[in-house]
């Protein structure tokens, strides 16, 4: 439009002053290098996260594919049932096949069917008794708070009732970035609902459900999150203890160790805040802020962010 007018307006004196300003007001090479180093470091983990995410997605698809035949095999008998995740434990007679698939193994309907897999639900144990046409599932176990004895022949519209505290936490929105166990759980629990022929009957598609999977012997799946949860809690406590006792370098080492052991752990945000604190305590404020930025990037709504941003308020 009127670019020439603009050039005309910029008189030589103004140009001279602006040139001086541009010449003086510029970042030093050291500042440029330092910022790039921090930026490069900060963006590299993001790449790793994407790779992990991609691997997770592939694992989810693989898990879904593995579970698909199993779900389909019981599908016809369960089509009208409200809760897909309870299918293997149902006590309804199955006149169509009279067979129950557990652990991916086709169990003949001999009346001697008994799954030896004892599944921990809370603190209870699950035993599956099979009889021709009638399979009964019983949960035996000491009754402890939050763990009721249940007969799965009861109507159970809400599988969440069986969640233990830890399991519920894994599925809550408090950790939207998820941890490895949480994601693993989602894969296991959601795969049948997605792949099953009556997936539309899934009661809560939006909320990840706990492993009420299509196989009774899920000892590994149910105990793994519990054990890693305990380990992760212990790891976080150790980090925080090191910080409290003025050992930031050790805390940093523990942070690294924890990330190595639980790359997608459920306390990833808390550990990032601890890392920022450790950096700050060590006078590495740029890295502290970088950790806070990483948290902000990963989980912009994290309630920890407010505190995290106060960690190194006067970082250089």
């Amino acid at each position: 439009m009127s670019e020439p007018e603009r050039d005309d307006e910029l008189d030589p004196v103004l140009q001279d002053y602006i040139a001086a300003f541009v010449e003086i007001d510029r970042p030093s090479d050291a500042s440029r290098r330092q910022t790039w180093t921090a930026l490069d470091e900060a963006t590299r983990p993001a790449v790793r996260w994407r790779v992990v995410g991609a691997i997770g997605a592939i694992a989810a698809i693989a898990a879904a594919m593995l579970l698909m035949p199993r779900t389909w095999s019981v599908g016809p008998a369960r089509r009208a049932e409200p809760d897909l995740t309870e299918a293997p434990y149902e006590s309804e007679s199955r006149p169509d096949t009279g067979e129950l698939r557990t652990e991916g193994t086709r169990l003949p309907n001999t009346g001697e069917l008994r799954s030896e897999g004892e599944r921990r639900l809370g603190t209870g144990k699950l035993r599956i008794d099979g009889a021709p046409g009638i399979e009964r599932v019983r949960i035996d176990g000491e009754s402890r708070p939050g763990t009721e004895e249940r007969r799965t022949d009861e109507s159970r519209p809400n599988t969440d009732e069986l969640r233990t505290d830890e399991e519920t936490r894994l599925g809550t929105d408090e950790h939207p970035t998820g941890g490895a166990p949480g994601r693993a759980l989602q894969v296991v629990a959601s795969a049948p609902a997605i792949s099953g022929p009556s997936a539309s009957l899934g009661p809560k598609p939006a909320r990840p459900s706990i492993p009420e999977p299509s196989r009774p012997d899920t000892e590994a799946e149910t105990t793994l999150p519990r054990s890693t949860l305990a380990e992760q809690t212990a790891a976080l406590r150790a980090i925080q203890q090191a910080l409290i006792e003025g050992r930031p370098a050790e805390a940093l080492a523990l942070v690294e160790d924890s990330r190595h052991r639980f790359p997608m752990g459920i306390f990833i945000d808390e550990i990032t805040v601890a890392q920022a604190q450790a950096f700050c305590d060590l006078g590495r404020s740029v890295q502290a802020r970088e950790a806070v930025n990483a948290l902000s990037a990963r989980n912009p709504r994290s309630p920890l962010l407010t505190r995290a941003r106060r960690i190194c308020p006067s970082s250089p």
Binding site: Y17, A20, F21, S28, Q34, V286, S314
Partner: protein
């Protein structure tokens, strides 16, 4: 679409621009480098949506403005003013010339600090960073005519400040000679 620049390339090309814009947006000196880093981190996350044909500087400016605002909000307890000049080591041997440039730059810096943000950023983007007026208008989310009007006003303020500075210097010179 052609070659999509890497973050490193974008950083090398636009670091000074972002750094200067961040400073003119009132981020405290201690936080400038961190804010610059944050701008590029956001750019990195948004690279997938970055259309290299559009103005990267517009995008960077938009990010920088949000980052700066957040930094300012966080630092609201302390008084946040427009940046004094940085002291960048100058390789030139001519100290007098260096001091002269420093004085002039200080005048520009003070004049910018006295402007409202609209005029200041219009001036910085157009006359310091050399962006076209349509590009400036796009960055600031204003129409081209408004951008021209702000630029004219900003230049006028700048000229007045420079004139006062020159008058003071001449006065100092005269007083020095008459002593």
């Amino acid at each position: 679409m052609g070659h999509r620049p890497s973050l490193k390339e974008l950083y090398e090309e636009h670091h000074t621009f972002v750094w200067r814009v961040i400073r003119r947006l009132g981020v405290p000196p201690a936080l400038v480098d961190d804010a610059v880093q944050e701008v590029f981190m956001v750019l990195h996350r948004r690279q997938a949506e970055l259309d290299v044909e559009s103005s990267i500087r517009s995008l960077l400016y938009g990010i920088a403005r949000r980052v700066a605002k957040r930094q300012r909000d966080q630092e609201s307890t302390r008084q946040t003013r427009i940046q004094p000049l940085s002291v960048t080591p100058d390789p030139r041997p001519n100290l007098e010339q260096r001091l002269e440039s420093q004085r002039k730059a200080e005048v520009v810096s003070q004049a910018l600090a006295a402007m409202d943000e609209g005029k200041r950023m219009t001036f910085v983007l157009a006359d310091v960073e050399g962006m076209s007026i349509p590009e400036v208008a796009r960055c600031l989310g204003i129409n081209v005519n408004t951008a021209y009007a702000r630029l004219r006003a900003a230049r006028e303020r700048m000229r007045q400040t420079i004139a006062r500075h020159q008058a003071r210097e001449e006065g100092d010179l005269v007083r020095t000679r008459t002593r």
